[in-house]
Amino acid sequence: MNKPNPCEAVEEKLSAYLDDELTQQEQQRIYLHIQQCPECSALLQELESMRTDVKDALLTSVDARDLPTILNDQPARWLSWIGWSLFALGFLLVGGFFVWELSRELLTDTGTPWWLRLGVAGLYLGLAVLFLSVLRQRIVARKTDKYKKVNL
């Protein structure tokens, strides 16, 4: 029945016992108490597993969420480079074919009146020129962007 008091004194030293920060004498005293007190030894175990949990939770999260390492991943960069090149190649081929066919059609097809053919040509040409103008603006803005190297 004299349990509560020794337990209370031991309890507040449990963390330090776990961290190996007590004097040898105290360490010994706590050790002896734990051997015969199931409650304190259960608390010690709980604290110990919590300590590892905290370490895992905070350290792995740092690694897993470190974006720059993901962005600097070499294979992913190659893949994205290959992807973009293939896309550009395909775009040029298909676009070239489309322009070629369209202009041949417009020049040779005598069935439709000349003003309609001129209109269609103007429509497509206008869209292409508008696209180019926006593209140019974008590129200029990118080249002169002061904050380009700022990592957010």
Binding site: K13, A16, E21, V54, D56, A57, T60, S61, R65
Partner: protein, 169 residues
């Protein structure tokens, strides 16, 4: 730059864990760490032995965090420091382990003092004497504060467990 053999880089992730817990914002935490690393490069008079360097580094990180928070407060005087610290944490989706998420959630319910001492000890394995230097306390206070913080974390975890039907085990 001597970045690659900079001895301070080995404490980078530990320092980042501390800054994240104090600031709640991963990006700001990285900024603070960046500044701390820069200081290790530019400072002329550095401690010589590793243990002292580590203490110095964590002091710099911790001060950096509090400087940042103080700055924030100048812009928003209505917010209490505690509020700023508590509310900011946005735990995100990239979670691998349910249990780790619980621990992190429980940590957020503690006070700043409790959180920082737990991170310093459990994540960074600093000795009580080193923690005492960083927090400018005496070792006895470190011992009791750490224990109280751990008990508070335990309470918070049990609380979460009751609330959510005991998934944490």
């Amino acid at each position: 730059m001597h970045t690659l053999n900079n001895p301070y880089l080995q404490w980078y992730s530990g320092g980042l864990a501390l800054a994240r817990n104090l600031l709640g914002c991963p990006d700001t935490a990285q900024d603070v760490l960046q500044t701390a690393i820069t200081k290790t490069l530019s400072n002329k008079r550095m401690p010589d032995d590793q243990a002292a360097q580590r203490v110095w580094f964590f002091k710099v990180v911790r001060n950096g965090c509090f400087d940042y928070l103080r700055q924030q407060q100048k812009f928003d005087r209505s917010a209490e420091l505690e509020e700023v610290l508590g509310a900011a944490e946005a735990i995100d989706e990239v979670e691998t382990n349910e249990r780790q998420r619980w621990v992190r959630k429980a940590l957020q319910t503690l006070t700043v003092e409790q959180r920082e001492i737990i991170v310093l000890r459990d994540v960074n394995d600093l000795s009580y004497a080193e923690i005492a230097q960083i927090l400018q306390l005496n070792s006895g206070t470190v011992m009791s504060r750490l224990h109280r913080s751990r008990m508070a974390l335990r309470d918070a975890l049990q609380h979460l467990k009751v609330e959510n039907g005991g998934i944490y085990e």
